[in-house]
Subunit: 288 residues, 2 copies
């Protein structure tokens, strides 16, 4: 449970850092403006410990230099390994947690600071500027972050459910949401709604299909789509938001193109496939 | 080397399945049209074993039923675990291989067939239709797939380089590209260019900064951006293409928002941070 807590924490931190990237590089906002945004967010839907400390971070002065401390900190994220363990365990259990995976990947990517500086000289793309209505983007971003936070908790809670089934942990998701709400790094207003969702239905297969959260996702998806499109156009990486949206769009896909994957696997490796029109396991001599 | 080979294979298969999703659901193309597209692709830049078998798969009749076999295969992808091992090992070595991670995640996601069918009833988004110039999209897709294939090989080759350093394997990337070109599931015309890139510079840190591949990526990035935006609008998941673009956009980012991650980690856990203006390791009593 602690490992999955930290996996969710990695995902939320990655998402917040992506909003910072869009605000700083895309919109050119100052640290004071950033402080104001996260402060306001912490009074609404996104109220949480991580948003609260983010708000404060942008005010912190550099005691021994001019300006704010945040601008002197090296952009190279470290890790103790708990996010990585969560991703590795999830893969072992075949539970997709793409938002956590991307958070781990981006910490790793940040470590290649020198290579990135070199690559910036030869790999050229858009200049990161987003020249559109700032207030509109900030407002859509709040909604998009709420969407992506739901996806992050949904992935973590699903992993806990599967781990509980597999390892006979007999976990109570309602109790976990309640305990996390009480005091930990991922504590958030959202956790009370998560607790209630599991009170309504203890065996909820995925938070996304709870009536409240499903409605929120349906309603807010356009904001996520807009934010991703703006970032893609501007050349600003938003793998966390992308993973949240892909997770939503694939989970709501009754059909996925995995039939082609099975056909390929059977073609090159005789790995067999199942069919939709009859029971059994089949193999074909392809192209004969 | 075999494990990384299979990781790249997972990534390429995922990408091809995403093109199929866009063509089938987005553009409504028939199996005959799909056959023609992949056949043409296999005569150009994308020439490879996996494109060749894809081309043939769309022609395969269902011997015991009407129509083509591909439409009777269940969209639930299995795995032997080699992709997963590659992702897990890469995380251990702190080498980001997001395209391989997403490929593993999407195989896992495909397994949730029943949950997906249920979720499709409550999670509502765009209807997957792309009402735009078909030929234009097919042509951009070819270019986008080439871009993403380069990213997949770049991630795999970087993982091999790091593993070789860490475990003292003394691997020769030029020889690996040559051997893979000779006959394996990921054999592709592209591998000859990869071999040449490592002939030019044996210690190339990342394929993306090779002069040839860097130029191709710079030139084709607009096509990837367009394809992702179309898919995001249509509600079709393209996590593989997204991971390829994020990898490119983050690797070419001299600055990433990881300074905020370090500030947060130091705020809540006293994990310390480094600075850009002086050497050392620092801790701050935040918000005091």
């Amino acid at each position: 449970v602690k490992s999955v807590h930290n996996g969710i924490e990695y995902a939320l931190i990655e998402l917040i850092s992506e909003t910072y990237n869009i605000f700083k590089r895309g919109l050119g906002l100052s640290n004071d403006e950033l402080h104001q945004i996260y402060k306001k967010w912490n009074e609404g839907l996104l109220e949480s410990f991580l948003i609260e400390i983010t708000e404060k971070i942008f005010l912190q002065p550099a005691d021994d230099a001019n300006g704010r401390l945040i601008d002197l900190i090296k952009d190279q994220a470290k890790q103790k390994g708990t996010g990585k363990w969560t991703s590795q365990d999830a893969m072992e259990l075949q539970v997709p947690v793409p938002l956590i995976d991307m958070a781990v990947d981006m910490r790793d990517m940040s470590g290649y600071k020198e290579e990135r500086s070199d690559a910036a000289k030869t790999l050229k793309g858009p200049d990161a500027k987003i020249n559109q209505d700032k207030q509109g983007i900030i407002s859509k971003m709040e909604s998009a972050l709420y969407f992506a936070m739901i996806a992050a908790y949904a992935q973590g809670m699903t992993l806990l459910r599967k781990a509980s089934d597999e390892y006979k942990y007999n976990l109570d998701p309602e109790a976990i949401a309640r305990i996390w709400r009480g005091g930990c790094i991922i504590r958030a207003r959202l956790l009370e709604d998560i607790r209630q969702a599991f009170t309504r239905k203890a065996d909820l297969p995925n938070l996304m299909v709870d009536q409240k959260f499903g409605g929120e996702l349906n309603k807010r998806q356009d904001d996520v789509r807009t934010i991703i499109q703006l970032a893609v156009n501007a050349g600003i990486p938003v793998p966390g938001f992308m993973a949240a949206l892909s997770y939503f769009d694939s989970y709501r896909s009754e059909w996925l193109p995995a039939n082609l994957i099975q056909a390929q696997r059977d073609f090159f490796g005789s790995h067999t496939y199942e069919r939709i029109d009859k029971e059994g396991v089949f193999h074909t001599e392809w192209g004969k």
